[in-house]
């Protein structure tokens, strides 16, 4: 086809609904501002709904941590040698809750945006990405509160505290991979949305959020389960730098990085495979 001088510059090209993997990642990256704007708009919108608005992003994990501390720290006292048990629980609950909230919301990223998907073309991975970005931003003030509580319980900030930043960044990328997967799964089977809260409830008790696993179980098979549980790895990576009595363990770093890479790559592959099916009932 010859190109006339006055045309807008493109030749006729076939309409492509699902670009190749590389092109898909590139397009998603090019449209990242759109994901930011969706996330920003949602955060702005949320704070108009209730009196306390976005404060709930901090209050929710705070109240949860308070309840768990009362039940498991004071009433049942399962601290078993953890010296700073309040800080131990607060970090566990905040960090776990961050992933739980992000991934459960991410499961609705496709199904709750059908109108948008039906009328505008853009890489659909933008939608789970927007959820993850929004929850990451909302988590920032929660980090400040978490650090304040940890300091109030007697921990002294040191240079190793900065390691919390890469740990949480890695966790956010992990959340993205997981959100991509559950978003497509929910599009295939709506039931997933109902199942996920129970999966996370189970994971909560199996991720050492409220107790230190090796002080309760001795069975090596069960301990291996904890060792390879990504949530336990992320909780531990946050406790390592912040609590004087804990250290960052290479195994947890390896497990967290491994899961994150696997979910990120697998998530994009799995999510893109459904690209031309989204929004079509």
């Amino acid at each position: 086809m010859s190109r006339p001088p006055a045309s807008s510059g493109d030749d006729l090209k076939p309409v492509v609904m699902r670009p190749g993997f590389g092109a898909y990642l590139r397009e998603t990256w090019q449209r990242r501002d759109f994901a930011m704007a969706i996330a920003g708009g949602e955060l702005r919108g949320q704070h108009m709904d209730s009196v306390l608005g976005n404060l709930w992003h901090v209050l929710n994990p705070l109240l949860l941590a308070g309840v768990y501390y009362l039940v498991f720290g004071v009433l049942l006292d399962i601290s078993r040698g953890v010296e700073n048990f309040p800080a131990f629980i607060v970090i566990g609950v905040f960090v776990f809750h961050y992933s739980q909230k992000t991934i459960i919301t991410g499961s609705g990223a496709v199904v709750s945006n059908e109108g948008l998907i039906r009328s505008i073309r853009f890489p659909r991975a933008i939608l789970p990405l927007a959820t993850v970005v929004g929850h990451s931003i909302a988590f920032l003030p929660a980090i400040v509160v978490m650090l304040a509580i940890v300091m109030a319980t007697g921990e002294v900030p040191g240079p190793e505290w900065v390691l919390l930043a890469p740990a949480l960044l890695l966790q956010s990328v992990f959340n993205l991979g997981a959100a991509l997967i559950v978003a497509r799964l929910t599009d295939l089977f709506r039931d997933i949305e109902n199942v996920l809260p129970y999966v996370f409830r189970l994971a909560f008790y199996g991720s050492g959020v409220l107790y230190f696993p090796s002080r309760f179980v001795s069975d090596p098979a069960v301990l291996a389960f904890f060792d390879f549980n990504p949530f336990f790895a992320f909780v531990s990576l946050a406790r390592g730098p912040l609590l004087a009595e804990m250290a960052i363990e290479p195994l947890h770093v390896a497990v967290a990085v491994g899961w994150t890479l696997a979910l990120l790559v697998g998530g994009f592959i799995f999510f893109r495979a459904g690209e031309d099916r989204y929004g079509r009932g």
Binding site: F34, G115, I120, D276
Partner: protein, 267 residues
């Protein structure tokens, strides 16, 4: 759907490629549809649940194939405003969505020069945030950069006539204000091919005149407009060419006067 099949076929679809040859001898094709079939499946239950999957022993759902578009071929040229008419369920919207890349074709192919966008930014807007943020959101949704949106911001607001309300949340807008904002954002993107689905009859008289002006502008800039409408007045007033779809088949393709006359005679 009227159920009535047109009694006399007036404009012969076979003549559609040569029909407007003289006018477009030098114009560039912008959209080419080659023997396009679009078939999609609709299911009895909208969505499969695990329970029904187990209950049916993992057999697939009861489904019905809908042949929405059957063997449609045409070439659209730069500068054309093409009306798409036909009774409800005749495949007009499906065809538009396929050109816009929102619906896969089953057979045949569609070629587009440049970008094709459906006028439907409404779904990207968020009711709780201000009109200002929604201009950003809608512009980004349609693929503009932040910088491009900033450059066109004043023009969009002025075109929508929302200078006084732009900092109010979208949910406080009337439906007319909302529709004006949507049209202003969508058309500010200046896609090469703009697809409009029954959206033109919005706003008051002066806004309709302005939208008509915007459409003419886009056509002059070597763009192509597709307009699905049931209002023959709008079609005749806006379009330079009309496609008539009936039950997924292209029944006629020609000048608005002829095709609308044939369509009116048949319905």
């Amino acid at each position: 759907m009227t159920g009535e099949r047109p009694a006399e076929p007036v404009t012969d679809p076979a003549g559609r490629h040569s029909g407007d040859g003289a006018e477009h001898a030098r114009a560039e094709p912008t959209v080419v549809c080659e023997s396009v079939d679009i078939t999609y499946r609709v299911y009895e239950d909208r969505r499969q649940s695990l329970r029904s999957l187990v209950a049916s022993k993992f057999k697939s759902r009861e489904s019905r194939a809908i042949e929405a578009v059957k063997d449609v071929s045409f070439t659209a040229y730069a500068g054309e405003a093409i009306g798409v008419i036909g009774s409800n369920g005749s495949g007009k919207s499906t065809l538009l969505r396929a050109i816009g890349g929102l619906m896969p074709v089953t057979d045949g192919r569609i070629l587009v020069r440049g970008s094709a966008a459906l006028l439907g930014v409404g779904a990207a807007l968020q009711p709780k945030v201000s009109g200002r943020r929604n201009v950003l959101l809608g512009g980004l949704a349609l693929g503009l950069s932040r910088k491009e949106i900033e450059e066109r911001f004043d023009e969009i607001v002025e075109f929508a006539g929302l200078e006084d309300a732009i900092d109010l949340p979208l949910r406080t807008y009337s439906s007319g204000m909302r529709a004006r904002l949507q049209f202003a954002i969508s058309s500010a993107v200046r896609p090469d091919v703009l697809l409009i689905d029954e959206a033109l009859a919005v706003g008051d008289k002066s806004f309709r005149a302005r939208s008509q002006g915007r459409i003419d502008e886009l056509r002059a800039a070597a763009g192509t407009i597709f307009l699905v409408s049931h209002s023959m007045g709008v079609i005749k007033g806006t379009c330079t060419r009309v496609l008539w779809l009936e039950q997924g088949v292209l029944k006629a393709d020609g000048s608005p006067k002829e095709v609308v006359k044939a369509y009116d005679a048949a319905t």
